[in-house]
Symmetry: C2
Subunit: 102 residues, 2 copies
Protein backbone atom coordinates (compact mmCIF):
# COMPACT_ATOMS: atom_id res chain seq x y z
CA UNK A 1 0.00 0.00 0.00
CA UNK A 2 2.93 2.31 0.57
CA UNK A 3 3.47 2.51 -3.15
CA UNK A 4 -0.17 2.71 -4.18
CA UNK A 5 -0.74 6.13 -5.68
CA UNK A 6 -3.23 8.52 -4.21
CA UNK A 7 -3.69 10.29 -7.54
CA UNK A 8 -6.54 9.58 -9.89
CA UNK A 9 -5.64 6.89 -12.37
CA UNK A 10 -5.84 8.00 -15.96
CA UNK A 11 -4.58 6.99 -19.40
CA UNK A 12 -2.07 4.22 -19.70
CA UNK A 13 -1.44 3.85 -15.97
CA UNK A 14 -5.13 3.27 -15.48
CA UNK A 15 -5.34 0.67 -18.23
CA UNK A 16 -2.32 -1.15 -16.86
CA UNK A 17 -3.70 -1.11 -13.32
CA UNK A 18 -7.11 -2.38 -14.37
CA UNK A 19 -5.49 -5.14 -16.40
CA UNK A 20 -4.04 -6.60 -13.20
CA UNK A 21 -7.54 -7.21 -11.80
CA UNK A 22 -9.90 -10.09 -12.39
CA UNK A 23 -13.63 -9.56 -12.79
CA UNK A 24 -13.74 -5.92 -11.74
CA UNK A 25 -15.69 -3.54 -13.95
CA UNK A 26 -15.51 0.19 -14.36
CA UNK A 27 -18.76 1.84 -13.38
CA UNK A 28 -20.56 3.97 -15.90
CA UNK A 29 -22.17 6.31 -13.37
CA UNK A 30 -19.03 7.32 -11.45
CA UNK A 31 -15.25 6.93 -11.41
CA UNK A 32 -15.15 3.65 -9.52
CA UNK A 33 -14.85 -0.10 -9.98
CA UNK A 34 -17.30 -2.78 -8.90
CA UNK A 35 -17.39 -6.53 -8.47
CA UNK A 36 -19.99 -8.96 -7.15
CA UNK A 37 -18.70 -11.87 -5.06
CA UNK A 38 -20.77 -14.98 -4.46
CA UNK A 39 -20.14 -17.31 -1.53
CA UNK A 40 -21.62 -20.57 -0.32
CA UNK A 41 -23.83 -18.94 2.28
CA UNK A 42 -24.09 -15.95 4.61
CA UNK A 43 -21.49 -17.28 7.04
CA UNK A 44 -18.90 -17.66 4.28
CA UNK A 45 -19.73 -14.21 2.87
CA UNK A 46 -19.43 -12.51 6.24
CA UNK A 47 -16.29 -14.37 7.18
CA UNK A 48 -14.68 -12.96 4.04
CA UNK A 49 -16.01 -9.49 4.82
CA UNK A 50 -14.45 -9.64 8.28
CA UNK A 51 -11.06 -10.49 6.80
CA UNK A 52 -11.42 -7.71 4.23
CA UNK A 53 -12.41 -5.28 7.01
CA UNK A 54 -9.10 -5.95 8.76
CA UNK A 55 -7.16 -5.24 5.56
CA UNK A 56 -9.24 -2.13 4.92
CA UNK A 57 -8.43 -0.80 8.38
CA UNK A 58 -4.72 -1.47 7.83
CA UNK A 59 -4.86 0.46 4.56
CA UNK A 60 -7.20 3.08 5.98
CA UNK A 61 -9.12 2.63 2.75
CA UNK A 62 -12.63 1.20 2.84
CA UNK A 63 -15.02 -0.44 0.45
CA UNK A 64 -18.65 0.41 -0.19
CA UNK A 65 -20.37 -2.94 -0.01
CA UNK A 66 -23.86 -4.40 -0.07
CA UNK A 67 -24.36 -7.84 1.43
CA UNK A 68 -27.48 -9.90 0.75
CA UNK A 69 -27.06 -13.39 2.20
CA UNK A 70 -24.31 -15.06 0.11
CA UNK A 71 -23.73 -12.07 -2.20
CA UNK A 72 -21.45 -9.09 -1.67
CA UNK A 73 -21.50 -6.25 -4.19
CA UNK A 74 -18.39 -4.11 -3.77
CA UNK A 75 -17.62 -0.65 -5.13
CA UNK A 76 -14.21 0.95 -4.74
CA UNK A 77 -13.32 4.59 -5.26
CA UNK A 78 -11.10 7.09 -3.48
CA UNK A 79 -13.29 9.81 -2.05
CA UNK A 80 -10.37 12.11 -1.24
CA UNK A 81 -9.16 11.95 -4.84
CA UNK A 82 -12.66 11.99 -6.33
CA UNK A 83 -12.10 8.85 -8.35
CA UNK A 84 -10.17 5.66 -8.93
CA UNK A 85 -6.63 5.50 -7.56
CA UNK A 86 -3.92 2.95 -7.00
CA UNK A 87 -5.28 2.36 -3.51
CA UNK A 88 -8.50 1.00 -5.00
CA UNK A 89 -6.53 -1.32 -7.25
CA UNK A 90 -4.54 -2.45 -4.22
CA UNK A 91 -7.63 -3.12 -2.10
CA UNK A 92 -9.34 -4.90 -5.01
CA UNK A 93 -6.36 -7.23 -5.33
CA UNK A 94 -6.39 -7.96 -1.60
CA UNK A 95 -10.11 -8.70 -1.68
CA UNK A 96 -9.59 -11.17 -4.51
CA UNK A 97 -6.67 -12.79 -2.68
CA UNK A 98 -8.76 -13.20 0.47
CA UNK A 99 -11.37 -15.26 -1.39
CA UNK A 100 -8.66 -17.87 -1.80
CA UNK A 101 -7.23 -17.62 1.70
CA UNK A 102 -10.31 -19.25 3.34
Amino acid sequence: MGKATREKLTGEKRSEALATLDGWEERKDRDAISKTYLFEDFAAAFDWMARVATEAEKMNHHPEWLNVWNRVEVTLSSHDAGGLTGRDIELAGRMDALTEAG
Copy 2:
Protein backbone atom coordinates in the same frame (compact mmCIF):
# COMPACT_ATOMS: atom_id res chain seq x y z
CA MET B 1 -37.20 -15.87 17.92
CA GLY B 2 -39.10 -19.09 18.54
CA LYS B 3 -42.27 -17.09 18.85
CA ALA B 4 -41.65 -14.72 15.96
CA THR B 5 -44.24 -15.43 13.30
CA ARG B 6 -43.24 -16.50 9.83
CA GLU B 7 -46.45 -15.15 8.34
CA LYS B 8 -46.68 -11.79 6.64
CA LEU B 9 -47.62 -9.06 9.08
CA THR B 10 -50.83 -7.25 8.19
CA GLY B 11 -53.48 -5.08 9.82
CA GLU B 12 -53.39 -4.52 13.54
CA LYS B 13 -50.64 -7.04 14.25
CA ARG B 14 -48.43 -5.18 11.82
CA SER B 15 -49.14 -1.79 13.36
CA GLU B 16 -48.49 -3.13 16.84
CA ALA B 17 -45.24 -4.78 15.76
CA LEU B 18 -43.98 -1.66 14.00
CA ALA B 19 -44.83 0.44 17.04
CA THR B 20 -42.29 -1.54 19.09
CA LEU B 21 -39.45 -0.35 16.84
CA ASP B 22 -37.48 2.86 16.92
CA GLY B 23 -36.46 4.67 13.75
CA TRP B 24 -37.39 1.95 11.29
CA GLU B 25 -39.40 2.97 8.25
CA GLU B 26 -41.63 0.98 5.95
CA ARG B 27 -40.31 1.01 2.42
CA LYS B 28 -42.50 2.32 -0.35
CA ASP B 29 -41.06 0.11 -3.07
CA ARG B 30 -41.45 -3.27 -1.36
CA ASP B 31 -42.83 -4.94 1.77
CA ALA B 32 -39.82 -4.32 3.98
CA ILE B 33 -38.45 -2.00 6.66
CA SER B 34 -35.26 0.06 6.54
CA LYS B 35 -33.05 1.96 8.92
CA THR B 36 -29.75 3.78 8.54
CA TYR B 37 -27.28 3.46 11.42
CA LEU B 38 -24.39 5.88 11.88
CA PHE B 39 -21.30 5.01 13.87
CA GLU B 40 -18.15 6.82 14.88
CA ASP B 41 -16.04 5.27 12.15
CA PHE B 42 -15.63 2.18 10.00
CA ALA B 43 -14.25 0.07 12.85
CA ALA B 44 -17.26 0.79 15.05
CA ALA B 45 -19.67 0.14 12.18
CA PHE B 46 -18.08 -3.17 11.28
CA ASP B 47 -17.79 -4.27 14.88
CA TRP B 48 -21.55 -3.83 15.19
CA MET B 49 -22.10 -5.67 11.91
CA ALA B 50 -20.07 -8.61 13.20
CA ARG B 51 -22.21 -8.85 16.32
CA VAL B 52 -25.39 -8.60 14.24
CA ALA B 53 -24.06 -11.31 11.92
CA THR B 54 -23.79 -13.70 14.86
CA GLU B 55 -27.40 -12.99 15.85
CA ALA B 56 -28.55 -13.34 12.25
CA GLU B 57 -26.92 -16.74 11.99
CA LYS B 58 -28.57 -17.86 15.24
CA MET B 59 -31.96 -16.76 13.89
CA ASN B 60 -31.16 -18.03 10.40
CA HIS B 61 -32.58 -14.72 9.24
CA HIS B 62 -30.31 -12.22 7.52
CA PRO B 63 -30.31 -8.52 6.77
CA GLU B 64 -29.67 -6.80 3.47
CA TRP B 65 -27.15 -4.14 4.34
CA LEU B 66 -24.99 -1.55 2.64
CA ASN B 67 -21.93 -0.29 4.49
CA VAL B 68 -20.11 2.87 3.47
CA TRP B 69 -17.46 3.73 6.07
CA ASN B 70 -19.39 4.69 9.24
CA ARG B 71 -22.86 4.20 7.73
CA VAL B 72 -24.91 0.99 7.52
CA GLU B 73 -28.21 1.03 5.63
CA VAL B 74 -30.26 -2.01 6.60
CA THR B 75 -33.33 -3.49 4.93
CA LEU B 76 -35.27 -6.35 6.48
CA SER B 77 -37.84 -8.54 4.77
CA SER B 78 -38.66 -12.25 4.83
CA HIS B 79 -37.96 -13.65 1.39
CA ASP B 80 -39.74 -16.94 2.10
CA ALA B 81 -42.91 -15.11 3.13
CA GLY B 82 -42.58 -12.45 0.45
CA GLY B 83 -42.81 -9.60 2.91
CA LEU B 84 -42.49 -8.33 6.44
CA THR B 85 -42.88 -10.89 9.25
CA GLY B 86 -42.35 -11.13 12.98
CA ARG B 87 -38.83 -12.37 12.32
CA ASP B 88 -37.93 -9.03 10.76
CA ILE B 89 -39.32 -7.20 13.76
CA GLU B 90 -37.32 -9.52 16.01
CA LEU B 91 -34.06 -8.97 14.11
CA ALA B 92 -34.66 -5.20 13.97
CA GLY B 93 -35.02 -5.15 17.75
CA ARG B 94 -31.84 -7.14 18.21
CA MET B 95 -29.93 -4.81 15.87
CA ASP B 96 -31.08 -1.81 17.88
CA ALA B 97 -30.14 -3.51 21.14
CA LEU B 98 -26.67 -4.28 19.82
CA THR B 99 -25.95 -0.60 19.19
CA GLU B 100 -26.11 -0.20 22.96
CA ALA B 101 -24.16 -3.33 23.85
CA GLY B 102 -20.83 -1.75 22.73
